[in-house]
Symmetry: none
DNA sequence: TCTTGTCCCATGCTATCCCATGAACGCAAT
DNA sequence: ATTGCGTTCATGGGATAGCATGGGACAAGA
């Protein structure tokens, strides 16, 4: 088990804390993430969470999204301005700051969504909606592919 | 016997566990699956279950998708967010989590359906209905073919 | 002083390990 | 064929470990 898989919803307690799902915590530990790094996703009301390797990924996305932001300085400002550290406490919980709540709309519960090399933090209802949308787009794609290849051949 | 064949229905015990049919377990072991990967099927209330090679196959497709399109992101969200690991315990049972129950409607019994290279998990009544539907479609197809080819040739 | 964030501990629930039981099946000797 | 034995398999349950959650206490900053 070496990927962030599956999804879960956990509740925020009176002090603003949430448990990170055990499976995600275990994987983060296995990868040697002593600190979690969270970045505001570019096109979604979610945060991408992972180790420092996330920065590279984010920079690549930025290049694609905005070719004018190409200088290292611009990039750095953007990446660091949109990112934050998440400190895991002794019980495996993180505190939901305003920085996170603003971008995601999170209030009382947190949705965790595995994305393979990292995971995301969502407002649960938005996460469900997002997954439904994704599913709908992929279904359409598949049906279009089936049209193009009439006989019931599955790769 | 190197394919997942046939179907079976097993009951969930008070702790939420179900036995994976012996034949499926034997094949999984033969293939070296120490962990099972399950994905919520796109167009059916079922889970596709296989080994890590199933996940890896999807991930390879993912890498080939054009990163400028939303499709790559959608596929990652689907394959990772809608997938999960299933741990077989020492007695060959798996636990039916809410993650599984939500998508399938499973409550007290589980239907296992062999699909060759993988198998599926269904709510039993839905599985029966699905099989009946498939059978009906095939019959229709065959009759249409018989019309086109009048002499009563069968096999 | 009042809030905010940590650290530490308590509790209930769920998952997991390990062992027991009984039914079904196969094999072989009678 | 029938009987009897052993094996596999589905199912049940006790005990335990891990996890999500709640709250007290303390320290630091406003």
């Amino acid at each position: 088990m070496d990927r962030f898989l599956s999804s879960a919803v956990n509740r925020i307690d009176a002090k603003g804390r949430v448990s990170v799902p055990g499976a995600f915590r275990a994987l983060a530990a296995k990868r040697g993430y002593h600190e979690l790094y969270a970045l505001r996703a570019l096109e979604e009301p979610a945060l991408d969470v992972g180790g420092m390797d996330l920065l590279e990924r984010y920079e690549r996305q930025l290049e694609q999204a905005n070719p004018f932001l190409r200088t290292a300085d611009d990039m750095s400002a953007y990446v660091h301005g949109e990112g934050t550290f998440l400190k895991l406490d002794a019980d495996g919980r993180i505190t939901m700051s305003d920085f996170i709540r603003e971008h995601t709309g999170i209030t009382s519960e947190v949705g965790f969504l595995g994305r393979g090399q990292f995971f995301q933090i969502w407002e649960p209802e938005r996460m469900r909606q997002h997954l439904a949308d994704v599913r709908a787009r992929l279904t359409t794609l598949r049906q279009a592919a089936a049209q193009a290849r009439p006989s019931g051949a599955s790769e």
